[in-house]
């Protein structure tokens, strides 16, 4: 008996409706009045956030046979919607008056919708739809600036995305063939006695698709290029929002995989490889966007830790959600600092930030220390809960690897901070962008609020 409750999908309907309305309005509005489209997009996000917040206390259930409404879905909705709002905030100065402004907002809303669908579904077919919905807007967003770098990054993203999509569909086919069902409850039952090799092929295929969306090793190659080549708002979006959907989806999938293969170990190895590679590659970067791109790869490594132990204890999913929320706000704050000074490309360009823009320098210090995991910031809370969950789940070695990686990551985040506090060269490029500054300040408050209000956050994610 399938429950049909259209109202349970109200946040998703708001996002979808918002995308359509924004797109339509944009096509009828003159260039200098495109801000109306922005307003419409923000209104849709506010509606979606309200609906998602009101639905948090609802009992957990599956609607339309494929869409789970529970705490992880609720938190993913809130994080995705808040992150998209922050992206629009930090990108408003950059996007205002551009040729494709309203299309960008529509794509952001659709990408956000895709991420929510990924996070919420418990059916492989809907997962495929979510993958496409979250992925295709990315290609367009990356290619939007029409520079050579953006074109190359868009092509790279597209090719890798197409490959990952094929792997995902192949995996779905194989798993369906073995289990006779694409819904996770049926999958869990059907895979229990199935040959391990076949299950491995199917599950690895689906995981590959999710790793592409999350930007995890070995499907991370597009992330640094896209972060460097795309505009700042698109880069902020693609390093934050798809990860939320993909990692929650990965946690839901790993939970139903049978114990015939050591999945915690396999995912744990992926996590270790992702964080180590991301950190080592970030060490060598001198372009701030590329540095942030690699840093987001390393963060996916930490985020995969609770995914690995999702079947082992009750703490894994809340830890994942806590880390996702903390990571999203910290990462977007760092991008907001970038967006506020559009001329800055290299670490050396950051010199003089502390002297000339103390508020932005504070935002940078808070967001980067948060990405390192210094208390009392948001990611510290995430790291604490994630390390605890991983150790509790029997992956103590992974916790040690993650701790060592954290020290390595400190080296490159500090390089950036040192550059920002160096007495300044003349200010490169045009002045600061007011909206992006405001977004940076909001983000800073958010990072500290999540860290200091840890009690409320952990209570929320525990459902």
């Amino acid at each position: 008996m399938i429950r049909e409750e259209p109202l349970a999908l109200l946040p998703e309907l708001c996002l979808f409706g918002g995308a359509v309305v924004t797109l339509l309005a944009g096509s009828f509005l003159p260039r200098q009045r495109q801000w109306i489209a922005r307003l419409l997009a923000v209104a849709a996000l506010l509606l979606a956030a309200t609906a998602a917040a009101l639905a948090l206390d609802d009992p957990a259930r599956t609607v339309f046979g494929a869409f789970v409404v529970d705490t992880p879905t609720g938190i993913a909705r809130l994080v995705v919607v808040a992150a998209t709002m922050l992206v629009i905030g930090l990108g408003a100065d950059d996007l205002a008056g551009r040729a494709r402004e309203s299309e960008t907002y529509a794509l952001l809303l659709l990408g956000a919708l895709g991420a929510v669908v990924l996070a919420a579904t418990d059916d492989l077919l809907v997962l495929t739809v979510g993958f496409l919905l979250a992925g295709i807007p990315l290609y367009a967003l990356v290619g939007m600036p029409r520079t050579a770098g953006a074109a190359e990054a868009a092509l790279k993203t597209y090719l890798l995305g197409a490959l990952a999509g094929i792997a995902l569909m192949l995996g779905t086919t194989v798993l369906y063939g073995i289990a006779g069902s694409t819904a996770y409850p049926g999958l869990a039952a059907g895979l229990a006695g199935a040959p391990a090799a076949a299950v491995a092929v199917g599950a690895v295929g689906v995981l590959a698709g999710l790793l592409f969306e999350a930007g995890g090793v070995p499907l991370h190659f597009w992330v640094p290029d896209a972060t460097e080549g795309a505009g700042t708002p698109a880069a902020a979006f693609l390093t934050t929002v798809p990860k939320v959907g993909a990692l929650v989806a990965a946690a839901r999938l790993v939970e139903v995989l049978p114990g015939s293969l050591p999945w915690p170990l396999l995912v744990g190895v992926l996590a270790a490889a992702t964080m180590t590679l991301g950190n080592l590659a970030a060490l060598a970067q001198s372009d701030v966007r590329r540095l942030l791109g690699w840093s987001t790869v390393s963060q996916v490594g930490y985020l995969l830790m609770p995914v690995a132990v999702v079947g082992a204890g009750a703490g894994a999913v809340p830890a994942l959600l806590t880390y996702l929320a903390g990571y999203a706000v910290s990462n977007l704050t760092a991008f907001a600092v970038l967006a506020a000074r559009p001329g800055v490309r290299s670490l050396a360009d950051s010199a003089g930030l502390a002297r000339r823009h103390p508020a932005l320098a504070t935002a940078l210090v808070v967001s980067l220390l948060s990405l390192v995991g210094t208390p009392p910031t948001a990611v510290f809370l995430g790291k604490l809960t994630v390390f605890t969950a991983a150790w509790d789940g029997g992956l103590a070695w992974l916790v040690v690897v993650a701790a060592l990686n954290t020290v390595v990551s400190l080296a490159y985040y500090l390089r950036w901070l040192v550059a920002a506090f160096r007495p300044g060269a003349p200010d490169p490029g045009p002045g600061t962008a007011p909206w992006a500054r405001a977004a940076a300040v909001c983000g800073t408050v958010g990072v500290l609020a999540v860290g200091l209000g840890a009690g409320a956050v952990t209570a929320l994610v525990a459902g």
Binding site: P318, T374, L384, F387, V399, A403, L414, G455, T458
Partner: protein, 495 residues
């Protein structure tokens, strides 16, 4: 009251960071707030009565993260109150000495006030997450102090080395804390609850790993060999007040962690590891003294004597875990260890401030550049002579009280502790040699025209030395505070 003592400097720091007040106002504010905070601490000490049954005084507990069993829980006892007082004294001395710093004085005041909160907060923390929070933030603050106000050519590099090294230590510490948390049933980060439960008793392997993580984390901070390599460059390139705070307060966080967390929460493992701790302590004492003997740079020399002096503390806390020896001797060792933390803070803080005067006048710390300072700078020479004698452990100063108890207690627990005795001789020799080289003899190339100490320089140094003298002459003032707490620690570790 305890929380207001802790957070008053932070509040002032936030105001100084945001309001663009004139430099003079910032300096007055800095000194005023540290004096006010010191007054609050004096009031705490005056009202302190040893709580019955090994409890805490001025305890405060507020819900923070109930779902992971962590709360804002603070309180003091005989182990932490002396260090809280030391922190307030040293920061007050530094604020006076920092009066003459003309590089961004407002930001400097804000930074040091914020750093003061992290140090006070760490010593009163009764929850591992709160402890870790202040531990990490003290590293960030000290990094900014070295990188922003250091004066060496390589200040940035030394600061980075300091940050990476101690951050690695802090993560080892975090792993240990998570281990303790997971072992406790119900899971909790609350220190008194963990101490009462001693969750890893009877699990020698897991307990050993958790203690190893804690030991590495705390040993990096202390520092003991082989984790000491960050200390000399950090001191050489830090400003005078940066060095004073680093040596006098931040190093104590490591040794305080031993007596506050590692010993009471992991008694079995501590007893099993205590020989390792004793050996590391003896090695630190001897190695620190020998390397200090080979230094020509005054600040590096003082830095290495810090390793030597903290080695005594490590030796004592190790000896306190040697079951099978008398309780009285082990209690004496712990009391000596805490006294040594206070004594080292007072005396080494004074020595670093005096070394800062040399650099301020001439830009050099090389001892061979000086000589005959007794003629050109009699007040500096007098203060340096007193500080050197206090540091080498002459009776009537705090160092004697501390080291006497450490050796009496440790040798009472194991005769092997006598191996560390040559450390005292070596320290005496090297400090006397430094005194001779700087103060006596003919004037060196940089002694000519050397201006003697000004009020803002001698006042804080004299204040620290007078306190050291007070502890040396009236030791019971301090010992009555510490002794009940150290007997509680020995009782806990003997469980």
């Amino acid at each position: 009251m305890l929380s207001s003592t802790v957070f008053l400097p932070l509040l002032a720091a936030a105001l100084l960071a945001v309001l663009p007040v004139p430099d003079r106002v910032a300096r007055i504010g800095w000194v005023g707030v540290t004096v006010a905070d010191l007054a609050l601490v004096v009031a705490l000490v005056a009202r302190y009565r040893t709580p019955a049954g090994g409890g805490l005084a001025f305890e405060e507990r507020v819900r923070w993260i109930p779902s992971v069993g962590s709360s804002y829980h603070v309180g003091v006892d005989g182990l932490s109150l002396p260090l809280v007082a030391l922190t307030a004294v040293v920061f007050c001395a530094c604020s006076v000495y920092g009066w003459r710093e003309d590089r961004r004085p407002r930001q400097l005041a804000a930074l040091f006030l914020a750093l003061q909160t992290t140090c006070l907060g760490l010593f009163v923390a009764q929850d591992l997450i709160v402890f870790f929070l202040f531990f990490d933030l003290s590293i960030v603050g000290m990094y900014a102090a070295i990188a922003g106000w250091g004066h060496g050519r390589d200040a940035g590099r030394s600061a980075l080395q300091f940050f990476l090294y101690t951050f690695l230590g802090s993560l080892a510490l975090l792993l240990g804390f998570i281990g303790l948390y997971l072992a406790a049933d119900p899971h909790t980060f609350d220190l008194p609850e963990l101490v009462a439960a001693a969750p890893l008793a009877g699990h020698p392997v897991a307990g050993g790993f958790v203690l190893a993580a804690l030991l590495v984390g705390l040993a990096v901070k202390t520092p003991t060999i082989p984790f000491h390599t960050w200390l000399p460059p950090a001191h050489t390139d830090a400003s005078a007040i940066g060095s004073a705070v680093l040596a006098a307060v931040l190093l104590k966080m490591g040794t305080y962690g031993f007596v506050r967390i590692a010993m009471p929460a992991l008694p079995d493992a501590w007893r099993a590891f205590s020989w390792v701790v004793v050996a590391v302590g003896i090695a630190s004492v001897l190695y620190g003294a020998l390397v200090a003997l080979a230094q020509t740079d005054l600040k590096r020399m003082i830095a290495y004597t810090s390793i030597n002096h903290m080695g005594y503390v490590v030796l004592a806390v190790g000896a306190a875990g040697l079951s099978g020896s008398g309780t009285a001797a082990r209690e004496l060792a712990v009391t000596g260890a805490v006294t040594q933390m206070v004594s080292h803070g007072l005396v080494t803080g004074a020595l670093f401030l005096l070394a800062g005067v040399l650099h301020d006048r001439t830009g050099s710390y090389a001892m061979r550049d000086f000589g005959g300072l007794a003629g050109t700078a009699p007040r500096w020479s007098g203060l340096f002579a007193v500080a050197a004698f206090a540091s080498l452990g002459i009776p009537a100063f705090s160092g004697f009280v501390a080291e006497f108890q450490i050796f009496a207690g440790s040798i009472g627990a194991t005769a092997w502790a006598a191996l560390a005795l040559p450390g005292i001789l070596l320290t005496a020799a090297l400090l006397l040699r430094a005194l001779q080289q700087l103060v006596a003899g003919s004037a060196g190339p940089r002694s000519v025209g050397f201006g003697d100490v000004r009020a803002a320089e001698w006042l804080p140094v004299a204040g620290l030395l007078v306190l050291s003298l007070a502890v040396g002459v009236l030791p019971w003032l301090l010992l009555d505070l510490i002794a009940p707490a150290s007997s509680a620690v020995v009782e806990l570790v003997s469980r």
